[in-house]
Subunit: 422 residues, 4 copies
């Protein structure tokens, strides 16, 4: 990637809360909230997730065979009934302009491929003599979404099609592309991924390139680094402890590939009100301790941080969770992050992570992944810190102490603490 | 299967010679030839293979996204430009009537599922309140053919759709259905296969039910027996020695599942002029010995016998090959067929098969699958024939001799001989 | 195999009842019983199973590192304390002579390889300049028995060693060798198996060559046919319904490899008193119906029949079970045995087998493998019998009837019936 | 592990040069050389590798079934003909004393298990009522070495046996145990490994615990950390580029488990004269560039450094290679080592590693793993170094420069350079 970001992206994505049915009012409302309340802490991306071209969408289910909004070149455009400002072919430009006016950045989700409708209608491809039916591959379909056909990366018309969509998105002012149905499909779809990345990189506008769904394939880490900014290391993440628990192993394996503009992505944060399309009162099922654990792990591992809940409904706890300056500093300031160990202490499993501060000192985070509260001692030798007295600050609370050789830590079941020692 | 056939079907299929582009004149010509020259030997089925609803077809390639001929209920009908007698909604009835008038039987190929066009157009299903888009499964597509979506077997509309097509085919007078994209997909598509079989069995007309493509899954042998009459045990078979050689192992494994209306199917016989869409002069690449081997193995194994070449172009050798009464008698008369051994004799691999004649006596066939001619002795003890003198007839030549204990046999490389001893 | 047997071996083996601890008195007693009571029905082999060289043996457990009886060339000889007649280097000759005097045949079990003791002591090999430590392979050991090292089949001394043991056994008058730790180890130990078979075939005395343990590897069926007379298709078989149930699938898969001196072996029959080393009152846990099922399947499948129980303790049921002339006739007279189908009828699974009688007529056997009694109809078309009236004899009972088209059969849960129709 | 070492062990091991046949004079000679020439740089362990109890040893081949030297409790002792000072039951104590007198540390290789000779002889176990034959597992043998039987970790006598050997080694003054035939056998031998580690940790003397052979199983990383100090991540490493090339991937995967007394081990350094038992003139086949690559990778990855060659025959290049203070400083001073990327630049594959200096500044090493020389630019952003001018020292040459943003580097094919920037 040419555009090296020195910290992982932070923002909001519509999926966890609105599925395939987010609309313009919701996006504007959340963008406004972010600008007013979160921008100062570093949160900046506002991303519209999947099937925004579908007029019939009403929840997390994909509607098969609905008539997607599409231009004469087979490029999907926003459904006007859901995104009114896109009327008259304006696309997402008015919405992107609004987000930019707030000092934020704008992103959209896309599926790889070309709409099945375009192939059935034999539509022309902008700038190519080939038509949609000639580049679409009839059996190259997504397992879980009904909209597109994959493209034959060897055909000239395929490149032209991908160039045509990124050109359109650049004209709208898009800053962030979340490309779906490709990340975990290595090596099967590697050629198509390289083609898409190449077209995106040359579209004339700098965009963060995020690929989904996970789990990404570890053996292709160097490929991901070369073509993308962030890649999903997990299938869809939701508010279940089993999924959060499983993230420790994923983060351990991917940690050496984090940094310098490359961000293995642990997926959105399902916090606050989520799944509103199912139930207007639905809220995250994570306990407060589990949410501390999640934010701590995502931050010391340096995952992108993308909020999944409806932000205007956040309570005080949730707001504090995502605006803790010390934790967010660890997220941006950490270097060389990695797990130190994972072991049972007095029958309770704990995990220890560490990273180096750019500004001197060493971060470490301790997780109780067992089923009881615990009080343990962390040996500084395990962290390979130099001998001598250390000033240690617990980052969630801001409390500080002086320690030598080791530090005693109390942890709730499923809870975490994070520290900076120097 | 209710309709137990006491011999495996024999006939002609258009694929090997005409691919996706067979037309009415060709079918009529071959049917007439069969009636005049082969019917007396037992050949009776005339089968129109794949994509007969496609007006653009011109060779073995499937044309993706062409506009298939279809009725208002999403049922494919013959493309009128290729099958002129189907004009005005007559479907295949006129052609079937013609075939019947010759004393023969008529068959067609179908793909599982519903046309993608029907789903995109939200067409109604005959006799159901559900529409095509509601029963089609967007990601359930064939790997190699672009026409259909698989159906959700749990939906009422899916059953209605399959009932509607078999009802149509019954009204045309179809005697044989070759259903494709399902046979080797066990257990993934077992429910859909059972549903289709059930609809076919209850359509009001008796039809042979043949399923493709292979290789069929051996662990599902009892399933195949219960739902179908014949099932392909190999992927497409062509005129290459490697494929013929591989059939020995397939036949060995499937032999115990042959008989009583159940016919593991070694695929069409690529003999005479084949692949005419590529080259009007193209002819089978099998040597004469290989063709003897093929017919001998198919016959003692009791495979269906479906001719793949353009019959009107058959030379004298080919005609003798498929009209040898003794070999065809072995095909219909064999019981309890199985391989006896497969081993190297003087460095040349040979295979020995046997079966029991319904009328007394024992068949056996010897194959030289090595790379040199050979002269070997077959020990009657290996065949578990009772002691004593045997009268032995070689079936291809009709020559007879008396042997006791063993018989000496000369074989060409890749050649075969077949015998009846009693 | 040069010596083609026209029926599968029948006899008695000491394992099921006495494990590693059988003694001479027991063998003599059972041989006498067989001669007096079973010989007339075709039972003839008396086989001494494993670790007969071990003086410490007391039950089914192998005693590791005990001092096995061995001659100066590292050849195991009977432990004199257990086989007194072997004193003064007589080996098994006196016992074999006794068995022969009864008109029966004598067999022994051996492990592949050379005793570990011989390698540790660097013993000479008869007729070779190599010593035991030079041909033994230190890491080539049996997973479950502690006595031997496998031999390097490429070394001249290995062949000499195997020749030396078969020469010794021939001098004793052994008629049957059960070689262990090799059958299921294909392809790893194929070279050693071929070497052993070759040495056995050339030892100057004809012996049945039986290999264990199972499950034999189906892909090596032709190898087994060429090197052995019988091979175990299952791991140790005991008196549990799950094991008997599993034998149907094994028998189905191996049926085409049965006959003409080749006998896939379903293992000993655990009937009557068994496991006497654990409990003097222990008897088979199979129900009477399960025993009918076992004998019926073994017989129509043409497995070797080796009694596993202490014969002198057989009750009347057991004696009738193994002396039914019609069933034993089916065992020796069947040809072309195979399963016809296996399916659920009214929710109860049934299995149908058939074979051809050498003398005309067709056998079939019906098994109820479900969990309720049943009454079903067998369609003669499934058996591919010619049309017309059939005289049908049920073989266990001897009852006969005349049937046409089908026959109605009552079966107990886990029970079986066998028929001859002509 | 209780005894946390703050740097990975450095020393010499007899295997690469002398195989199973090293003798006392050789060990003394190399120890003296190390004390005189290398101790000052941090080299300190002198390790006697495999089968030192075998009197017949003469090269790298293991002699099966030779009579190993053993005490009355089945504990192996040095073969007196090879280690004269061990006469009269002195064991390795005199040799260890000599090594200690030089200011160095002494290590030995052992196989897991108990000598087969001890089991065959039913020897007593010190402090236990069980005998060797009762704890040895007859089928639990090493695939490649003929000496031992594995022990049943559940038996009391097994623990006693392991306690007895470590007690003996402690009495000799052993500082380092290289335990073989266990590391890659996870999870099969995990219980035996935990038992051995436990016995070693409680023997009363601190010893480095090194386990072999590799490749270690990545999923058991936390187990290795808990039971051992170093574990082999590769099968035997020799002087072949393919093996060195493969180490990059192994090092990448294991890097997060390095440090704080835990040392994934890339195996001995085959430098200088090696394989002397085959050929007295044999020398490493690695080019000088490959040796730079090896030392650079081992050092920044923090592998143990164990010299494999005959040190008294080292030439000037080899001496400089292993006495470069800056490289050895990187080895001991590095923290948080990891690969940054691995990619093709102008068609030539390169690898970039980094680590953090304890004393400030950042190490990085660049490898040309392609087949041509190259000149490339390393972007400091990839290393996530803070902006601004850096003073950069190339560690092999000691040359320094000032760079900002990036640095241009020339590399030979298969060569490497290492840097410290601050």
């Amino acid at each position: 990637m040419s555009n090296v970001m020195n910290k992982a992206p932070m923002g909001w994505n519509s999926w966890d809360c609105y599925g395939a049915a987010v609309d313009e009012a919701t996006v504007r409302k959340n963008a406004k909230f972010m600008a007013d309340n979160l921008k100062a802490c570093g949160w900046e991306y506002v991303v519209v997730d999947i099937q925004w071209a579908g007029p019939d969408a009403k929840d997390h289910e994909y509607i098969p065979f609905q008539k997607l909004a599409m231009d004469e070149y087979g490029r999907l455009i926003p459904a006007v009934n859901r995104f009114p400002s896109s009327v008259n072919g304006a696309g997402f430009k008015p919405l992107a302009d609004y987000v930019h006016s707030l000092g934020l950045k704008f992103g959209i989700h896309i599926m790889r491929g070309i709409p099945r409708q375009a192939a059935a209608a034999h539509l022309p491809i902008l700038g190519s003599s080939q038509t949609a039916d000639q580049v679409a591959q009839a059996s190259n379909v997504c397992e879980w979404n009904p909209d597109m056909y994959g493209l034959n990366p060897k055909k000239e018309g395929s490149r032209k099609y991908y160039e045509s969509i990124f050109s359109l998105y650049a004209s709208w002012g898009v800053d962030f592309i979340k490309l779906d149905d490709i990340c975990r499909e290595m090596p099967r779809l590697k050629d198509e991924l390289v083609l898409i990345s190449d077209c995106l990189r040359n579209c004339g506008r700098e965009m963060v390139f995020s690929i989904s769904p996970g789990p990404a394939v570890l053996d292709f880490a160097e490929t991901y680094k070369q073509v993308a900014n962030m890649w999903r290391i997990t299938d869809d993440f939701w508010d279940k402890w089993e999924l959060l628990y499983a993230m420790f192993e994923r983060a351990e394996k991917w940690s050496v590939h984090t940094g310098a503009g490359n961000w293995p992505d642990a997926d959105m944060l399902p916090i606050g009100p989520i799944l509103q399309d199912y139930d207007k009162n639905s809220r995250t099922k994570f306990t407060e301790d589990e949410q501390y654990t999640m934010l701590t792990l995502w931050s010391i591992f340096r995952s992108p941080l993308m909020i999944g809940g409806e932000m205007t409904g956040f309570d005080e706890f949730t707001m504090k969770l995502i605006t803790n300056e010390r934790i967010l500093k660890m997220h941006s300031d950490s270097r060389h992050s990695h797990q130190v160990w994972r072991k049972s202490i007095d029958g309770i499993e704990h995990v220890l992570w560490t990273s180096v501060s750019q500004e001197g000192g060493q971060y470490f985070a301790v997780f109780n992944t067992g089923e009881s509260d615990s009080e343990i001692s962390i040996d500084f030798a395990d962290l390979e810190m130099p001998d001598g007295k250390k000033e240690v600050c617990e980052l969630w609370s801001g409390e500080t102490c002086v320690a030598e050789g080791s530090i005693s830590i109390k942890l709730n079941k499923h809870g975490a603490k994070a520290f900076l020692a120097f």
